[in-house]
Amino acid sequence: MNLHEYQGRELFARHGIPVLPGQVAATAEEARDIAETMGSTVVIKAQVLVGGRGKAGGVKLASTPDEAYARARDILALTIKGLPVHKVLVAQAATITREMYVAIVLDRAKKLPLIMLSAEGGVEIEEVARTAPERITRRHIPLDGLRAYQARALFQPLLEDGPLVQQAADILLRLWAVYRDGDCSLAEINPLVVTGEGKVMALDAKVIVDDNAEYRHREWATWRDPAEESPSARKARERGLSYVKLDGDIGCVVHGPGLAMATMDLIKHYGGEPANFLDIGGSSNPEKVTAALEIITGDSRDASGASRVRAIFFNIFGGITRCDDVARGIVQSLAQNPLPVPLVIRLTGTNEAAARKILSEAGLSATTSMDEGVRDVIARGQEVTA
């Protein structure tokens, strides 16, 4: 789960990382009120879970409460990289003398957390990695944790000034605590700044937490922003389906993430465009099948409200999952909720013969080959259009 900047700031502040005072606002009026209480120049920042907010016009300065109102109104009307802005952060502005970048990420190859540090702050790190990789310092954090001298050593070449090094090192140690105790897969401060008053502070917070650890972090449930999650995404999550919406018109319901990705790729390979990624898991119960079909047909609608999905491909390789169970689930689901678009079923593996019998009794058929099924579903989708 990606946290919003304001949530990340909260987490930082709780761990003693210095951040400038700020509050989140959902309306321009709230933004004005916050600016009024701050009584200084403020920065208004769009709270959306994508990078490049500044370039998209989602970060603006405001020197008066009225200006804060106007800027917040503009930003709240934006859609940045497809995401509508529902909230803005109103924070005290700072005078900046230096911008740096610091982050802790997981190094999958070395199986250790990795500190990435750069004198180039305030720009996207991927950009720095591409254009000036030598300006990024990388240091792994040993299994038993980061030590103060190691943190100091990292900042010494960058800051030189003793007290500044001390402050920055302290922030890095606290960032490590955020990462470790918070089960993060990314904890990033970009920019980490030195202010005109000689203080080192975090001016942004980007945090990604490891979904697998949710069971030991009760508060994460409250961080999930209902406005950020489409109704279908929520429904998928609640039903235990793994679902990602794409832009195409051929829906697919697949058992297993690897096969689901390969199915999307195959749709593309044969000239179609996948509408989604959906892993239905090993389950075969009709409710889950119904939910999956509803999510797919319901999620991509055009202006007139008609579904953009023209046909759906059901791809099950029965290993441990039994094909006859899945077939029963499909038949029951369709009996209760007829599907508005053609359905192509591919079933093979355990109890395949029994599955075919169940399907044919219900007037359905299934192919054995994934390639054949995909070609068929694309053709059916085109018939619908014609």
Partner: protein, 373 residues
């Protein structure tokens, strides 16, 4: 032959009294795996499908001389099960459990690695060989988590892979996926291409055994003549595998990468399957393989054909008596011998298909048996 598991595998099922553990115990026994013990703390003395249950892995080993363990324990307790198995001296630990936090998996990985290193040092293994030193009692290897396990067809299966789709033969298969693995295995079997061992290494960001590890094992296994590698988006395991193939693997490898149409920043089911910061894309991984001369199947159904071709090239008739070519000479020698085939664009500059005169034609009978079905 096979890698990691065979007829001598004596298996402990950790979490045998759970729903999944019980069901798959039955499936593994039916396949012919020697399941000698189960472990569930507090349930010692019971039996599940005729298998005695113990309170601890140490007891189970003392009583049954088990050498392998498979874990079906729920995520919050699964890493504890890995530590317990490793400390009790299990040689091969296969963790099926999905949803283990990365922080926990990281700790378990380093614990297992430290035990291996210590054992290697004690035995005087050279420093450069320690990392991949042979596993065994007291020098554990971890597979997974979040994996389907592995199967050596006709001998043993450990995990949840469906046995009926496999057939014994010369193809080694390694994959980050579950059901996609079944898909490819079934297509191989259907094409008459049996398998030495099929292994699912797991879909998490931190896994015990990587593609590089399994490539090394398959390269050393006399029964494996060709290797299928099924990767997916996220991480850089495939890129590292490609480099390793260039340096160290002389058997033919065919690759496939899932997720060519996956959008960046979205987790595609597997915790490890995510394109982050613009890296870990399918295109990069496919290019990495192509650059070292590994043919990349565009779609799964191309895999059997590419493997069959590779096996065909590898077994030129009447050339078995040739002396083994030295590694450095291998490239030129290979080109000189098969000018037509070596010039295929997909394999340009590869020149590492075979010519290892010491090879045995193992696995052929298995292939025939599979065809006869």
């Amino acid at each position: 032959m096979s890698i990691l598991i065979d007829r001598h595998t004596r298996l402990i099922v950790q979490g045998i009294t759970g729903r999944d553990g019980g069901f798959h115990t039955q499936q593994m026994i039916a396949y012919g795996t020697r399941v000698v013990a189960g472990v569930t703390p507090g349930r010692g003395g019971e039996k599940v499908h005729g298998v005695p249950v113990f309170d601890s892995v140490a007891e189970a080993i003392a009583e049954t001389k088990a050498n392998t363990s498979v874990i079906y324990v729920p995520a919050p307790f699964a890493t504890d099960a890995v530590y317990e198995a490793a400390d009790a001296g299990v040689g091969l630990i296969v963790c099926i459990t999905e949803g283990i936090p990365v922080r926990d998996a990281m700790g378990a990985w380093h614990h297992v690695a430290a035990l291996r290193d210590a054992a290697a040092v004690r035995a005087g293994a050279p420093a450069n060989a320690r990392r991949n030193w042979d596993s065994g009692a007291g020098r554990p290897r971890l597979i997974g988590p979040n994996c389907p396990g592995l199967i050596s067809p006709g001998q043993s299966k450990v995990g949840i892979l469906p046995g009926q789709i496999c057939a014994p033969g010369p193809v080694g298969l390694e994959s980050r996926s579950g059901t996609l693995t079944y898909e490819v295995v079934a297509q191989l079997t259907h094409a008459g291409l049996g398998q030495s061992t099929c292994i699912g290494i797991g879909g998490d960001p931190i896994i015990g055994t990587s593609f590089v590890d399994t490539l090394e094992l398959f390269e050393a296994d006399p029964a494996t003549e060709a290797i299928v590698l099924i990767g997916e988006i996220g991480g850089s395991d495939e890129e590292e595998a490609a480099q390793f193939i260039r340096r160290r693997v002389r058997k033919p490898v065919v690759a496939f990468i899932a997720g060519q149409t996956a959008p960046p920043g979205k987790r595609m089911g597997h915790a490890g399957a995510i394109i982050s910061g613009g890296s870990g894309t399918a295109a990069e991984k496919m290019a990495a393989f192509a650059a070292v001369g590994v043919p990349v199947a565009r779609i799964p159904s191309e895999i059997p054909g590419l493997i069959a071709e590779a096996l065909e090239r590898r077994r030129p008739r009447g050339r078995r008596s040739e002396a083994p070519a030295r590694r450095e000479n291998g490239r030129n020698a290979a080109k000189a011998r098969r000018p037509a085939k070596a010039a295929r664009p997909a394999r340009a500059g590869a020149g590492r298909n075979g010519n290892k005169g010491s090879r045995k034609p193992a696995g052929r009978s298995g292939t025939r048996a599979a065809r006869a079905r």
